[in-house]
Symmetry: C2
Subunit: 370 residues, 2 copies
């Protein structure tokens, strides 16, 4: 079979990159262009500023353009390796280089860089291919300004959510962030949390035991951040304040979810008098409001264990497929998921993401013709 | 059936308390007695200094003595409610009030308080009942001094391990702690990590998303700390440096373990070139070196899911029963575990802890006669 005849899916995690900050200089105030000329972007994409990553500098070796510069920075190569190699209905752009803006000390600079990046993504990527949709980066240092950016860039039909990192100074249920959730409710957009930033910049340490030594250890703090945010959103009553809010955790994993929900539900039964506004089991809030992307999917033996986890975590509602192209730990749509019932697979590969990002179904013929 | 005729077990998590720091003044230098008179112990037992706990001030309402003072502070009441109410072969004392010594700024004061507490525990508790064994608190600020305390208090036959909290400034595989592991190897004692201290005192924040608002959220950071320490111990090569080292996580939960090991094993397969001294899958290190206590055990529906988790996590090797007396979330030996094969249950209730703490089997008749 050729890939184009394969299964139709939505890829919820694609990383398009800049070759240079100069690419979004047209959208950036002069003062910040001059600062970047002197000091660079001051954004680390390796986490904590000192950890390695995997693969070839963090990326698939074949995803570097012929000029040898930046993996994921050429639209034509991304189109060839991903969009035209698989039967992709939509691909959701999550960027890379500018995602850590909320780890910066300077709130105004962070907000300006986020806005410039969003404009560059719209013009240089989204408007080039109608399969591509994007998440608008917001800077959390000033929630009011982040809300303005949601209202500004969210007007473009190619923007399908607001993007923040998982590492954070405060968990996302806390009331400091309310202006952001008001803007998302107004614009009918979801809140998208991509792993990264755990232990970086102005964020504190990535684990309750401080900073680990190695990248493989720091990867384990991803799920910790997701769990902290989930607990915060539920027990602060965020979903009671914003009943239409939808949230996705991107690249934070899924297999830890069911037993985490057992813990939350057990603790809530014993301690619900301390947060009386939480009126139903925490797991129900998760099933109603929170989604997870699939990559990187673990492959335990025997595989039926993974299918049990999918069933317990209601993957048919909660899980959305992602490749993480062009990262080294790219998940293939053909190889990365366990055998599962056909109806569950269609939800995971396609329908959950269509509903979450409010994307219309495309005709398969259209998709092939692209 | 009367409880004394019930199943024999070892309780791996009992919290005996002080009524006043004056109880260990006989073991404490005068300068610190005077400081405590003026400023108190400066140790918080509620975590982070600002969170609530559950139950009656954190304890079973019936565990307060008739004088209404401190739950768990009377040997006679602990004997009546726990040791004589159940068929306990041994009970492992983990204290309470002095456990957070490593969250203090002053290394010498912390070490002095730990040593004084250990002497008090031996004299006022362990020597009163030969079912009681204890964990010696060590202060981590000065690992050399902690090693001295292990060699000093570890000489007493009632001391069966060294005790630290889960919240920490650095994860426990880091080489800063090596003097402690050398002393443990010399004394043939295990390293015992009890939850607590996540986000407290000089420790950093308890999650990669900062400080949560509520106790129920902060409870979720317990597993995060355990996971950070496990990853650190494996990827720093701690078990390769100290091949006989045994570790237990007390009250940190168990149900998150299997999927955490799937994640570690998957990541290790992909990234093992970065830590080439790790020569086998991380899960094998855990099964060989690390144990977990059972309380607080979640009770998901249907119960067979919990049994799957027990099987995947090799509970017959890794899990040891605990009540957490006199805390409010006390687990009953009769009610808190799922139905499981008899051989697995005997390992969990009794044999794993006998082996871990190197305790000889007692005759049932002896136990009843006590």
């Amino acid at each position: 079979m050729t890939a184009k005849q394969g299964e139709l899916f939505i890829d919820c995690d694609i990383h398009q990159r800049i070759k240079s900050p100069k690419q979004f200089y047209p959208y950036l105030p002069r003062v910040y262009r001059e600062d970047i000329d002197q000091f660079g972007l001051r954004l680390t994409t390796t986490g904590g500023g000192g950890y390695l990553n995997g693969g070839a500098g963090g990326y698939r070796a074949d995803s570097y353009p012929d000029d040898g510069t930046i993996a994921g920075s050429e639209f034509s190569l991304l189109k060839e390796q991903l969009l035209d190699s698989y039967n992709i209905e939509y691909g959701i752009l999550g960027g890379q280089d500018v995602s850590p803006v909320s780890t910066l000390p300077d709130a105004d600079y962070a907000a300006a860089v986020a806005a410039a990046y969003n404009d560059w993504m719209i013009e240089d990527w989204i408007e080039k291919d109608d399969r591509l949709k994007g998440l608008a980066v917001i800077a959390l240092q000033n929630p009011k300004k982040a809300a303005e950016e949601i209202r500004r860039s969210g007007k473009h039909p190619g923007i399908v959510g607001a993007l923040v990192q998982n590492g954070a100074r405060f968990p996302y249920g806390q009331r400091y962030y309310d202006p952001i959730f008001e803007a998302l409710a107004e614009m009918n957009l979801p809140f998208c949390i991509h792993i990264g930033g755990e232990g970086s910049g102005v964020n504190g340490q990535p684990t309750p035991a401080g900073y680990p030594s190695y990248y493989i250890e720091n990867r384990q703090s991803r799920a910790m951040g997701c769990q902290a945010h989930i607990a915060s959103m539920i027990f602060e009553g965020l979903f009671d304040r914003y009943p239409d809010l939808q949230v996705v955790f991107i690249e934070g994993g899924f297999i830890w979810l069911p037993t985490f929900l057992w813990r939350l539900d057990s603790d809530w039964k014993a301690l619900r008098n301390q947060t009386p506004w939480v009126q139903k089991p925490p797991s129900e809030y998760v099933f109603d409001h929170i989604r997870f992307t699939s990559q990187p999917m673990e492959q335990p033996e025997p595989q039926r264990r993974l299918l049990s986890i999918f069933e317990w975590g209601k993957a048919e509602r909660t899980l959305m497929f992602a490749t993480d192209y062009p990262h080294w730990d790219f998940d293939s749509p053909e190889l990365s998921l366990p055998a599962m019932p056909e109806a569950m697979r269609k939800r995971v590969m396609l329908e959950n993401a269509r509903e979450f990002f409010k994307l219309p179904a495309r005709q398969l013929a259209d998709a092939v013709a692209d």
